[in-house]
Subunit: 275 residues, 2 copies
């Protein structure tokens, strides 16, 4: 998608063949934000409060529903209402990575019923292409109006990850063979050279969301690396994923605005300076 | 561990540096079973019933706690009591595959609190070595007497999996660098040539558990492949993982006994014919 990097999100939406990718590109253009908030609060009350407070700033809210320390169906229900009110999408960062018969249950069943409320869910490429077919099968059974799509983890931002080189290439092959089921990728925002490799192979109708982006910090003690928003977006990130950098700060709303502006400014610069 | 394949489980237990691996080898020797039951029942009542009925036949009960259609802490509590009564270990097949800061919460927190009741939990190698350090950190904080260990997914039995060749080699490097935290591997029982490659690189104190084993069927419609118990054990599987082949049969107890005998006979043959 190297040639498509200069296209505004509205044009990318037209290229997209997956409904959630179309919606994501349109939403980002309309709301003028390409910020994804990684909401890793573990207390359900704080989790929902954060979603409500930062909802106006973000394109996507990323969840780890399985780290909440209590759960009831009212949580995703409230979250969906907030998504409706503030116009953001919900991405469950489940990193599905099992064989088809199990992961279709992990996606649609259990107590979380992810498929009922998440627009986006990600999968690791390591199990092989059947992982996409299995999720796609569940998505096709749904008769509601919720746009759904898969994000393929083509890369990771953790140190020593095996999702590089040939692995990334094969992940892209899987996504390119399933353009209607796949909404895009998780690409490595923490390593610009790697991200560029992914961008070079990806389809322009797929969105690349990148973790590993922070304005200040340069890493944590658990193998996580970071880069700057403008570097990531310039290299081809369509949405920067920021978590602790925002919600652990003294003023999460102010920090969300800072990241939103940095990400948007970089997108405007990339697409040729309109604003 | 090619030279160690002829060793009885008692000797492998002595080599093991991880407490859960030690316990697993000892338990298999003592109970004369190397059968792991994949309990994929989604109804909690049926799930616990199956654990109780087949507990006497098995070395390990493998769970997907997140596909149960309802959950309360009484479920793992009851399961742990059954494990105590019938002398089997519990393996949560969570396939952890996130960055360290998240997966340590997925392992220890959330509503499932896997670390509180599972002896074994598996991790994908794709995030890099920090995934083992993060789990190890949680395990070391626990002050109880439960033996815990990590199973590294070095291979998968699904078609087109990327966990082959260099990926498998790097997964083994990670495990070999963490002999005390790692209890063993998930190796591909569905492809004997691949399994042998893993066995050739693995440490003899690590156990290899293999899915993709069935007496009859030759695959499903979702990319899963199968091989025979005797082929898998002869190639180096220390425990065969069987699910649908047992619990979807007309007589699960009878079928569990059939697999138990096939697996044990193959182990006796491998280690030189004592019985």
């Amino acid at each position: 998608m190297l040639d498509d990097l200069k296209l505004p999100y509205e044009e990318r939406a037209k290229k997209a063949m997956n409904p959630a990718a179309k919606r994501l590109f349109s939403l980002m253009a309309e709301k003028q934000t390409n910020l994804t908030l990684a909401n890793d609060e573990t207390d359900p009350k704080k989790f929902l409060e954060l979603a409500g407070r930062l909802g106006p700033e973000i394109a996507v809210l990323k969840t780890h529903i399985d780290i909440l320390n209590s759960f009831s169906p009212s949580i995703p229900k409230t979250l969906s209402a907030l998504a409706e009110t503030h116009n953001f999408m919900i991405f469950e960062d489940r990193k599905l990575a099992d064989i088809g018969s199990i992961l279709s249950q992990q996606y649609s069943g259990g107590i979380y019923r992810i498929a009922d409320w998440a627009n986006l869910v990600n999968v690791h490429a390591v199990p092989g292409p059947a992982i996409i077919d299995a999720i796609d099968g569940v998505m096709k059974e749904k008769k509601d109006e919720i746009p759904r799509g898969i994000l393929v983890l083509a890369q990771m931002s953790s140190e020593g990850t095996l999702a590089t080189g040939e692995y990334t290439k094969k992940a892209v092959d899987m996504a390119n063979a399933h353009k209607e089921a796949v909404a895009g990728y998780i690409g490595n925002g923490g390593d610009v050279a790697q991200l560029k490799q992914l961008v070079g192979m990806a389809f322009g109708g797929h969105a690349i969301l990148t973790p590993g982006v922070q304005i200040q910090s340069k890493g944590d003690s658990m193998g996580q690396r970071y880069t700057l928003p403008e570097e990531a977006v310039s290299a081809g990130s369509d949405s920067i994923i920021v978590g602790r950098g925002i919600y652990k700060s003294d003023d999460p709303v102010k920090m969300a605005k800072t990241y939103r502006q940095a990400g948007w400014k970089a997108y405007i610069a990339r697409t040729g300076g309109r604003s």
